[in-house]
Symmetry: C2
Subunit: 127 residues, 2 copies
DNA sequence: CCCCCCTGTCAGATGAGACTGACACCCCCG
DNA sequence: CGGGGGTGTCAGTCTCATCTGACAGGGGGG
């Protein structure tokens, strides 16, 4: 089940996951130590369902991991902790990752939005 | 003139600027060499106004710079090129940048949602 | 003169994500 | 039994970024 997500897709996923003040704050909070959903919701003063969604997004991007622990008393508590990721973001990295981005999805929805594109004017390869 | 944008704000701006397949593609294209708007629009097969907006966003984040050059014949061409940025993205960096994020809109919204102090509930410092 | 290439900006339609309140369910404690 | 956490999920609303077509210029060349 461990497929290879193209670098471009993964990069985009990480960026979209982090491009949100709430999610940045969540990561920062988890960087100080693991916590469970309800507690974190109180700490950050946000609704549980909302926090839940953000956590799922972060987890989908591989930035945090959640584990449902069952205490001895039987109560279930879902702990989250941050993954020690390290992403060097440079134009070079982006340039190498982009070619693996899926261009657009034809097929489904009948939007055959074919573009005549340019009229073939001066496409030069000048520096 | 040269004010200090808080690290958190700047970080968020860069992330939101890059969290878009189109903008990633633009950066990748510019990484191969400078280009002007119309040419880039043809190359990436997107509308000029749209590309224009994305370029402004990238420029606002300080990831690219645009310069309006006037050729000898008087025609104006706006060239863009990528800025050699290098951002190391780690939980640590985020944790340090987040405290400088503006919490929310001040003034309005009298949500004095002050925590009734969750009492002595389970605010544990467990690891 | 008309045609072509370029920049810059806008009102408006569209869609995706953010956000809320409520629900079903579990388990312990008084 | 009732109350108090905790998780997981849902339908619905609402805001905002995105995307499009069109416009108003500036300037060169056949």
């Amino acid at each position: 089940m461990d497929q290879d997500p193209p670098p471009g897709e993964h990069l985009l996923r990480m960026l979209t996951a982090l491009a949100s003040p709430h999610r940045l704050r969540i990561v920062a909070a988890l960087a100080e130590g693991r916590s469970y959903v309800s507690q974190l919701a109180r700490r950050l003063e946000m609704n549980r369902p909302l926090l839940y969604m953000h956590l799922q997004r972060l987890e989908a991007a591989g930035l945090v991991v959640g584990e449902l622990e069952t205490a001895r008393d039987g109560s279930s508590v879902k702990y989250f902790e941050v993954v020690p990721f390290a992403l060097a973001l440079t134009p070079q990295v982006i340039a190498e990752a982009v070619p693996t981005l899926e261009v657009a999805e034809p097929g489904a929805a009948g939007r055959t939005r074919n573009g005549p594109a340019s009229g073939g004017s001066g496409e030069d390869t000048s520096t």
